[in-house]
Symmetry: C2
Subunit: 472 residues, 2 copies
């Protein structure tokens, strides 16, 4: 694509007003890279529209002039989906100013919010009417609903509530033509034609710009109890998960697993952290039970899980939180894992998921495979057992140069992805494709599936102006 | 389209074998109409493929020769989606022989089944491994999974578990080109490209033929308690729903409403039925609480709901089931409603849903509007309050001719649909569009939405051979 000239830029600027059309390089810089600084792009202009009508006018002009557009939310994505190309041909449309709560409907258990609202503000909006919006991510203070939906965000509460997709009832989308699709429905049942909503969710801004959404609200839990349990190995963890699901149903709101190395590292390096159990165990699980009814109810369910698991010899030892503080202390261990890994040196990461039943095989085979690539490297696995979504991190050997270790990132990824694919898994469980995994996609999808995706892209964005170079 | 000639029919027959290529009119007849006999078509041939490869070969030949194909499952659909046109140009592909259970993965809580498996058999398959497959419909003995997914079936457990769409993790689809898309994934998290699965679910066979699916399994409830409650009016029912959701969360597996006339009619005409409450009330609600844990747990939750609802003066009277038999007796009242209505004469029906908060307004406005069209007609509303999905049935005036009453079906529908649309509702909550509502669709959807739907259809079925004349 060609770089837009000054006259065209002036036309774009006129739509939002000069104050919201950034051209000055120093104002633009924050939009050109993301937190990990892995992706850096260039752009002649960042547009900050203040209404859906302005987004529509931008797309109409882009459509008429063949100008490429990159939608951007809170700019927290990890695969480069929100970063423009390096040739300065693409204009960024930042949704940040579209941040209104349009409506909260308590009886329908819905809220209608704009794309630029931060996830934390969406959570607060729900909380203010005594409801729960369960989507929760590390970046929730700055990530935005539009980005959450465009990447079908996951996070810590998928087990009970599903991904962003499952939390969405309706959408408003500006199409590549500039037309506005008003699909802001608050309906639990609606079988009138094709499901357009789910075409745009997870499309990473390549089919249109999500400008607003109707999101589901849930009752707030009135009691939460967290169990911290030592088990011998991943098959025992899986057996415990089954017992917990059987006893708790959807009251089981988290089922996390971590290795002994992971627990040891967080206990050693996180200030104030301590091992909740007296003896060391091979693996650990954290089970969170949320009751809509009462604290006593949540605790009773944990006791019922313990009783059955002990009877069957599944768990070695376990404790349950007896206060919100204690529950928070357990969660601190879990949330600390990503950060404390750095104390062991460099770390190579993956974003994989497999069918839940394949987790033990994945862990054992991936460990062997990674250590075959880099002898003495230390697997550091932890993650969402209940979702089949494990952070298969690999820590460098103690005596290896960090740079030399990280240089072998792709090689380790390849070894792990081969196993994941064989087990019917995915190479992008949460973060999406963006530019990072664009070349990987045709290696894990069939030509038939790639063909259908390309047909959808050509049908909805025939001139190819929506976030070019991403996904497909 | 032209009627396929004998030579072409012979080619189709050769794919499945003569025994499974029905040409004899008497064998074909059962495929040409549906239970209500509202839609009747003609076809030169019904193909009954025995494998996905045969379905693929059929579609390849259809594609090469421009032959129109109508996929058919258990033939229980109510909008004509599975019935061919009257010009004998379309060939029926019945999926009935593709009825294998391919895999059950208890640890992953999934089962992989073929399109022709009946819903009842799918439920049994889950039950056999101590799991629940929650989809449940009146026609479950004969309807099939492929049809359930192609129409995004709803039923009685949507409140807690969602529609067929939410119960599906992966699909296998034969495309109009004959290519097979293998999307049979068992993953709870997967963000690798566009969501193709949801494009085919609910598309009523107009974009491809679903041949198999990976379905979610759930823990089986260990305790069920049903409350039967008298309330003054729909706003009180809505308030009670809110209390129940707050106390039970997703343990609230049904929240049904019925009018006094509905209860009176079922008590008068269903053998052995009796009013569970001593005094008459304006409206009734049935709340079902399912506990994965125990019967005592389910009963405790009902008690907690009663306590709060009584305190707030929301309910007038209520009882809860103390045995499975009593719970079944309450459900018999609810399930008997469709059938006993005939004792009052003719009935005009709708398939509508609105945002849950709009239910009281819908009920009051629709009642007035229907009675304005036909004075002295008797509204007979009941349905899934928790889903915003009410069966807005209208019973004829006692002294009116039944035929004359039914002749005004469209007129009554129009009056109700206008209100539903104004309230942000849908004119097809459960049954789909098919041929019945094809002309209605452009009147309730924006030109933009119709345009996107047509673009999808053209992209995936460019020659227009998949179930022509349905949906769009």
């Amino acid at each position: 694509m060609t770089v837009p000239g000054t006259s065209l830029l002036n036309q774009f600027a006129a739509i939002v007003g000069e104050a919201y059309a950034l051209r000055d390089p120093s104002s633009i810089v924050p939009y050109l890279t993301e937190p990990r600084e892995k992706f850096v792009g260039r752009t002649p202009m960042v547009l900050r529209p203040g209404s859906v009508a302005e987004v529509s006018a931008i797309m109409r002009l882009a459509h008429d002039t063949g100008t490429a557009i990159v939608p951007q939310g809170g700019n927290t994505g990890l695969v480069g989906g929100q970063i423009p190309s390096a040739d300065a041909s693409q204009i960024i449309v930042s949704l940040t100013r579209l941040n209104r709560v349009r409506a909260v409907d308590v009886d329908s258990n819905t809220m209608t919010v704009e794309a630029g609202l931060t996830l934390a503000m969406a959570q607060t909006t729900a909380d203010d009417v005594d409801r729960l919006f369960p989507l929760s991510l590390a970046s929730e203070g700055s990530c935005q609903i539009g980005g959450n939906l465009s990447t079908n965000a996951g996070g810590t509460s998928v087990l009970a509530y599903g991904n962003a997709r499952e939390l969405t009832l309706g959408l408003e989308v500006v199409l590549p033509s500039g037309e506005i699709w008003d699909g802001l429905r608050k309906l639990r049942k609606d079988n009138t034609g094709y499901d357009l909503k789910d075409v745009f969710i997870g499309a990473e801004g390549t089919l249109g710009i999500i400008t607003a959404a109707v999101l589901k609200l849930f009752p707030k839990p009135r009691g939460i109890s967290v169990a911290f349990v030592g088990v011998a190995d991943p098959p025992a963890a899986l057996a415990l998960l089954n017992v917990a699901r059987g006893k708790a149903g959807t009251a089981l709101t988290a089922a996390e697993i971590m290795s002994r190395l992971a627990l040891e590292t967080v206990v050693a390096h996180l200030p104030g952290a301590r091992d909740p159990l007296a003896e060391p165990h091979g693996w650990y699980m954290m089970l969170e039970i949320s009751s809509p009814n009462s604290q006593a109810d949540a605790e009773q369910i944990v006791e019922a899980i313990f009783e059955t698991a002990m009877e069957r010899g599944i768990v070695e030892d376990g404790v349950r939180s007896e206060s919100l503080e204690q529950a928070a202390a357990f969660w601190r261990l879990r949330h600390g894992l990503s950060d404390v890994q750095k104390f062991l040196g460099g770390s190579i990461k993956h974003d994989v998921a497999v069918p839940v039943s394949a987790i033990p095989e994945l862990l054992s085979r991936a460990e062997t495979a990674m250590q075959a690539v880099i002898p003495n490297s230390r697997p550091f696995p932890f993650g969402h057992l209940g979702d089949g979504n494990i952070h298969l991190n690999l820590t460098q050997p103690a005596d290896m140069d960090k740079k030399a270790f990280l240089a072998r990132w792709d090689e380790v990824n390849q070894a792990v992805h081969a196993i994941v694919t064989e087990l019917g898994g995915t190479v992008s469980a949460e973060h999406g494709i963006g530019t990072l995994k664009r070349d990987l996609l045709p290696t894990v999808k069939s030509p038939v599936e790639m063909g259908v995706m390309r047909a959808l892209k050509a049908a909805l964005d025939p001139t190819g102006i929506m976030n070019p170079g991403k996904v497909l």
